[in-house]
Symmetry: none
Subunit: 405 residues, 2 copies
């Protein structure tokens, strides 16, 4: 038996007056998801635990059965892995933006006018070595870059040089503990950022941007220092050959760190215009090569973060249309859920549980007729935690080890 | 967004034949609580965990998010704090009664005829020093006193001198482990109790009682040795300025140890005659000064401990009448629950879960129409643990920290 797990980012919501006190999912017309729910079993999932407000990174780790307390040490590594950097034990990784500073190093634009391609910027900085530490710099999507420090004696216990706000001077990285390693790491990073600024100021691409009246990408703003724990692969842990279909970097990164293969789906963008049908079709096709396919669908979250409940509802209807591809598959467990709730009213993640449906041979079909937050709370799976999802999946597909004898 | 948390002590119960197999809460007419439930979300709470039988002290600590495993080291400190003693690290605190013994130190009345005011008794003993240990003795309500030992090298690992029964000689405190500190503490306490008995025997107030034919308060019966853990304040922990409105000592004590302010409400007694409406009105008024108001309502528990299911039902109707004050508040989360179940049939605490309702902007209103134990078990919150309530409250009021990024 195979598994397709669809994580609809930020799918959960709270009742919205303008939708007749329904959530976007409850208000959306979702005949395919409803059919999967009706012929399956539903529940709600508290990804990190009751009331806890999950980040996207910790939420995904929990869903895959990797306790964030053990396997989460900052977002940087997941972002870096997501843009294709293979991390090694001891590496320190950061999320980075190309930003714009003035002559006094005061931040004027945290995204340098939303530069569309950081390839020449990353190339100019990639491979620099300082005090025995090599800097790996790779372009991400848009204005984003991934930055990795590789060398002996490094620590992730340093503060963010990115001040996270405008009209403030860039910060110096500072050690967050008294260790030699943290002080060394902060010191080397600070030297690198000064050197990088010197290189970026004189970069041909920036001269061009200034000529065109655009803010130059003249400063590398890095944040979220982290390292990768020694992480057993998903395949080793569960005996399931797994692949990921995702548009956005972070989710590819989580999958890569868990040793999942990445599969490209035509038209997958991580944006509302993404081709979900293509992702689902690609997944179904890949079932002959893989046991477990993780599909990430991003935009419900982004739309909710803009407070766009109408857009979120419509995007959910788009997911539903594509979900026709998942109805009636043989010998396949379909799991549809979210990493966290993003209420349109709050425009950010909340700790409310997410809806969950499991459809496949052998599940104890309950009497939930429509897929939605409040219906799912009455479902046969009850309330589960994120770390309980993988054991439940293994149980249904017949791969759970016997505990005891 | 503000929060009012109402803890109705011992509110939960079991079906009672004489009430048509309903619980007192189910049998009571509670239009206001029902309205709050109907327009909110319900669940049941296992204060300490499934089937565990909570004390009032451990239950309250759990509800406020302080794991009793870490923060509970005996009831004494909470009782002592409740009568206004500020405890310091290293203090050992006891619950105390003024009791009556005969000439052979055999207990004849554990409450000395329910003495109504222990002020002269406490005054006569307060401040005595023995072997470098100072005894602080303060009057509680009725026949109760709080006793604190202050000095270096003390331990709470000693047995109760109070024999907890009649017609038995008072006990000597004994060390419960082999430490020097426990032996020292038991020894000093025993010396003090002998000295105290000598003083009390000759107390003017006791001569008066004997003259009136009342049993004298001639022995200090102490029990429940405990110390206070280093406890971070509620405000520090959650960023919420908090206050407590309670009639009974223990609850004031828990609140004081968590750094909550105490607010007096006219007519709050901790007894069935208490003015609940005054407590709720006082809470609503205090919302302009505080983020979080904890209201404790005691008598449902006391009535259940007397097996008085009719009285419990009527008291619940009194709570309901007063709860009109809590209906329709703006930008306020109302949480109504209990610390534990006290079945009238058992006359003591049980481990059955307690009903829980949360009413306020943003909650996923479920389809529970009436507030009651069995309805709540079908509610949208499902089954939660006491330690999960504060995370859920923080989530709803938008104060939950993001875990991850």
């Amino acid at each position: 038996m195979k598994t397709i797990l669809v994580i609809c980012d930020g799918l959960g919501d709270r009742p919205i007056k303008e939708l007749g006190n329904k959530t976007p999912l409850e208000a959306a017309k979702t005949p395919n998801l409803d059919k999967l729910a009706r012929e399956g079993i539903c529940g709600v999932m508290h990804t990190l635990g009751f009331g806890l407000r999950p980040g996207s990174d910790t939420a995904h780790l929990s869903i895959f059965g990797y306790d964030p307390k053990e396997y989460y040490h900052g977002r940087g590594p997941f972002e870096a892995a997501g843009i294709g950097i293979d991390l090694r034990p001891g590496d320190i990784a950061f999320r980075g933006n190309m930003g714009t500073v003035d002559e006094n190093l005061v931040v004027k634009d945290r995204r340098a006018g939303r530069i569309r391609d950081t390839t020449p910027y990353a190339k100019a900085l990639d491979g620099i070595e300082i005090d025995g530490v090599k800097f790996i710099v790779k372009p991400g999507t848009g204005y984003r870059v991934g930055v990795v420090m590789r060398g002996p004696g490094l620590s992730s216990r340093i503060s963010d040089p990115d001040p996270h706000e405008l009209d403030v001077k860039v910060h110096e990285a500072k050690a967050l503990d008294n260790s030699k390693e943290a002080r060394f790491t902060a010191n080397v990073l600070n030297k690198f950022l000064v050197k990088a600024h010197g290189i970026l100021k004189n970069l041909e691409a920036n001269k061009q941007r200034i000529k065109e009246g655009n803010p130059p990408g003249n400063y590398l703003l890095v944040r979220g220092a982290g390292y990768v724990a020694d992480t057993p692969s998903f395949e080793k842990r569960y005996g399931l050959k797994a692949a990921c279909i995702a548009g956005a970097g972070l989710y590819k990164g989580v999958a890569r760190i868990l040793g999942m293969d990445g599969i490209k789906a035509e038209g997958a963008t991580g944006l509302p215009d993404t081709n979900i049908e293509s992702k689902f079709k690609t997944a179904v096709k890949a079932l002959n090569q893989y046991d477990f396919i993780f599909i990430h669908v991003k935009a419900a979250d982004s739309l909710a973060e803009d407070g766009n409940y109408k857009g979120k509802k419509e995007f959910i209807e788009k997911i539903d249309k594509a979900a026709k591809q998942l109805v009636g598959l043989k010998d396949t467990l379909i799991v549809i859920t979210a990493d966290h709730t993003t209420p349109c009213a709050l425009k950010t993640h909340s700790g409310d549980p997410v809806p969950l449906l499991m459809n496949g041979p052998g599940v104890r079909v309950d009497d939930i007729k429509e897929f939605g937050e409040r219906n799912c709370a009455k479902g046969g799976l009850g309330h589960i935690k994120g770390l309980e999802l993988m054991p439940e999946i293994l149980n249904i597909i017949g791969k759970a080890p016997l505990v005891g004898a």
